[in-house]
């Protein structure tokens, strides 16, 4: 067994070394026009696919087009629908990934070229469009990493016809997983946000997808979503409001300061904790009087965020914290957190 693995590894290294030299000639010394890449032995086609995939994560532009052509010339892509249904989950995931890496999800490019322009490699009957649709059922795959790879491939296509199924897949995951899965949704790009505005159910009935909307608006810094975020603040759902406040912190528009300040007395500590961060970012030094009451909040996270906002404000905030730390008449919680944050800032040289 080990002997066989070693032999395969040696073979892989030898092939890679030979192909690396051929590839640079092919890409940069006009090899693609004059000589082609050279033939790939039939059993080495899968190895060659992996070899090309390594480059496509780092190389873009004209070279990546040539790499993709090389992949297509191996003729392994027609087996994708079969591999997407394979019994082995690794094969299914690999096939889904292959569609994203080699961009076999762009129907416009894959339509048969006009007869006069057909390259010598083009074979009638082989149409590359439509592979991406075969990936869709994998969202229900019982193996989590296969479903995850399928979702990544679908978002990578940036085709919003897959937005609804991918969003439904995210919503089926546990709550704590959803923020992590935002990275997958980000693959659709900023055009997902207008789509969500148009297609999501009302936040009164179903607030959870709107939490993702708020977090995505923040991660894309999508200022066009600001009016919708302000509107969402009026929906009485704690998680939604906290997520909207997180997005507003990132967008940092001072015009929403008074609206945010209205939530400083919210009964939910999750909201007050976000308000404590937001006020400092949105209001600057003028937020100090509004942050001081939050320093005496009964919940530690709120006090810590308020104190951190004061540290981040620089001179005016640190002066307020120093005054509070020395004021024996001040709330004990407020004094303690002021001292703790001042020490924290001092240790890290922030003062």
């Amino acid at each position: 067994m080990q002997y066989r693995k070693d032999r395969l590894n040696r073979h892989r290294i030898a092939r890679y070394q030979a192909w690396e030299a051929q590839l640079t000639d092919y890409l940069f010394k006009k090899g693609y026009q004059e000589r082609g890449f050279g033939s790939i032995a039939w059993p080495d086609r899968w190895l060659f696919r992996d070899f090309l995939a390594r480059y496509l994560s780092t190389i873009a532009g004209q070279e990546s087009e040539l790499l993709r052509e090389l992949y297509l010339s191996t003729g392994i892509h027609p087996s994708l629908p079969r591999r997407l249904r394979d019994r082995d989950p690794k094969v299914r995931a690999q096939a889904a990934k292959e569609i994203a890496v080699f961009r076999l999800d762009e129907p416009a490019e894959h339509a048969p070229p006009p007869v006069a322009e057909r390259p010598w490699r083009w074979k009638p009957g082989i149409r590359m469009e439509g592979y991406i649709d075969h990936v869709l059922p994998l969202l229900d795959d019982p193996v989590p990493f296969v479903a995850h790879t399928a979702a990544q491939t679908l978002t990578h296509s940036r085709n919003l016809k897959f937005a609804a199924p991918v969003l439904a897949w995210v919503m089926r995951e546990e709550l704590y997983q959803r923020e992590r899965l935002l990275r997958v949704l980000e693959g659709f790009g900023p055009s997902l946000l207008p789509w969500m505005k148009e297609n999501l159910e009302s936040p009164d009935q179903s607030p959870e997808p709107w939490i993702l909307f708020a977090l995505l608006a923040g991660s894309h810094r999508h200022r066009e979503s600001l009016p919708r975020l302000i509107w969402l603040l009026d929906i009485p759902n704690v998680d939604l409001r906290a997520s909207v406040l997180k997005a507003l912190i990132i967008l940092a528009d001072p015009a929403v300061y008074s609206k945010v300040q209205g939530f400083a007395a919210s009964p939910a500590w999750e909201i007050r904790a976000q308000v404590a961060r937001a006020l400092g970012v949105l209001g600057g030094p003028s937020a100090v009087p509004d942050l001081l009451p939050l320093m005496a909040d009964p919940v530690y996270e709120v006090r810590r965020n308020a104190a951190q906002s004061l540290v981040d404000l620089g001179h005016s905030g640190v002066s307020a914290l120093t005054w509070l730390a020395d004021d024996l008449a001040a709330d004990r919680f407020a004094r303690d957190i002021a001292r703790e944050r001042l020490e924290w800032a001092d240790e890290r040289g922030h003062m």
């Binding site: 590839l23 640079t24 994560s57 780092t58 190389i59 873009a60 532009g61 070279e63």
Partner: protein, 134 residues
């Protein structure tokens, strides 16, 4: 546009993936540049000690010493080595990382996947700018 690199202009390519390093090396050599390759920041600093380098193109995530640390170490060197233009390449597209790279002292930043043509153009701009500034 035509780029006229002076003879013996040397670029240090710091990249832990040999396949990517090779692609960049061949393309830069076609420009007439002398290219030295290091697999991580520590190797790059060793090469910097003994060679005259005009430009550095470095990956961000590398073992032993990453791109951030390398930029900081280079900027701590006395001039002229401390002023070598540095282009950082990263597969992480986050805005924070971009800001961190530039704040660390890198002159420019490119997110992977990169177009090799654009990389050459960016290096040329950095070279031109540094030589205009003297």
């Amino acid at each position: 546009m035509t780029r006229r690199w002076p003879i013996q202009t040397t670029v240090l390519v710091v990249e832990d993936d040999p396949a990517t390093a090779k692609i960049i090396q061949v393309r830069l050599e076609m420009e007439g540049l002398k290219v030295l390759v290091a697999a991580n920041g520590l190797e790059a600093l060793e090469i910097l000690q003994r060679e005259k380098i005009d430009l550095i193109s470095t990956d961000l995530m590398m073992p032993a010493m990453n791109g951030f640390r390398l930029v900081q170490e280079v900027r701590d060197l006395p001039p002229p080595k401390g002023r070598i233009p540095i282009l950082l390449l990263s597969s992480n597209h986050s805005e924070q990382d971009m800001v961190r790279c530039l704040a660390a002292g890198a002159d420019d930043y490119m997110a992977k996947p990169i177009s090799v043509q654009v990389l050459v153009e960016r290096l040329w701009r950095l070279y031109e700018r540094s030589h205009r500034a003297g």
